[in-house]
Subunit: 158 residues, 2 copies
DNA sequence: GTGACTGCAAATCGTTTGCAAAGCT
DNA sequence: AGCTTTGCAAACGATTTGCAGTCAC
């Protein structure tokens, strides 16, 4: 998975990534006359410091000790999606899992139906074919969801 | 979309397709000690005679005059998915739309975010690349969801 | 007849919203 | 002060389940 290691990890996040994320967030907030509150910061920090695809429940649980309510988590996630910092994938039972996506090239997801692990996968070739074919049909694609469900390497063995 | 016209329409369904669907359904029911009731038949007939991707609400509404409850529609759809006769796609707000899929080659969906229309699309080349790459990663794909959201030809003009 | 099936209503799950209190600026 | 924001609880929409009566086999 070396080729997917373009997202700064916790450590190198301090080297600029988090700052760039916050820059975008601040700009978005300012433009809409909104505020950067401690709650929003806490949620975003938690996401930045995680390398997993987080469910709303994961985030809410982590926020509970700080007194954050689920509603705030939902509201913040929606806001983060609106300004393009965050995306979501759905797992096989339809629950959403969120990821910070600034500056990350588009990628698709391989979702393990046994352990729930989500592996990321870049397929530029595939996206190209997709775009071209859509256009041929007169369809103007805006976004897509390409989620592949199956067994990951580890779960196959079991 | 000529290439997608392999699914028997209402008229030629009488020429065998519906029968084959029922054969599978009957076998599944028998194996599990379940029964072919008028309700189940009505729902399946309705789906067979429609060429659209139907929402649960479409089906329930059509069944209401016959006294069917929503729960039965849900239960039957789940059962039809379990025996592989029916699949679902989700629209952009997460609602499910169902299609009868027996003997139909796998296809993906172009979903219009303006009018909700769903166009089907076969991409054997793309599926091949996908499978191969998954395997390279040690991932055993079982099914996937590839839904592309955008504007259809008609809605682009507006 | 017996066990599966149905409709209904109540329950659940994830998510959204209304509101009064609290926080920024 | 005047706005946004918050937590809570209630409201929501889609789906599920429990149950007493009904029906297919």
């Amino acid at each position: 998975m070396k080729e997917l290691d373009y997202r700064p990890s916790k450590t190198n996040a301090q080297g600029g990534y988090a700052e760039r994320v916050y820059e975008v967030f601040r700009k978005h907030l300012a433009q809409s006359g909104l505020r950067l509150t401690s709650q929003r910061r806490r949620i975003l920090d938690f996401m930045l410091n995680s390398d997993r695809h987080l469910g709303q429940e994961d985030i809410s649980q982590a926020m509970r000790p700080h007194g954050l309510g689920r509603a705030t988590v939902f509201r913040t996630l929606k806001m983060l999606e609106e300004c393009g910092l965050v995306n979501h994938v759905s797992d096989e039972s339809g629950r959403r899992r969120f990821e910070v996506n600034l500056e990350r090239p588009h990628h698709d997801h391989l979702i393990c139906i046994s352990c729930g692990r989500i592996q990321e996968m870049r397929w530029p070739k595939l996206e190209k074919i997709q775009e071209d074919t859509c256009r041929k049909f007169g369809f103007a694609p805006q976004w897509h969801r390409h989620e592949i469900f199956g067994l990951c390497r580890d779960c196959r063995k079991t």
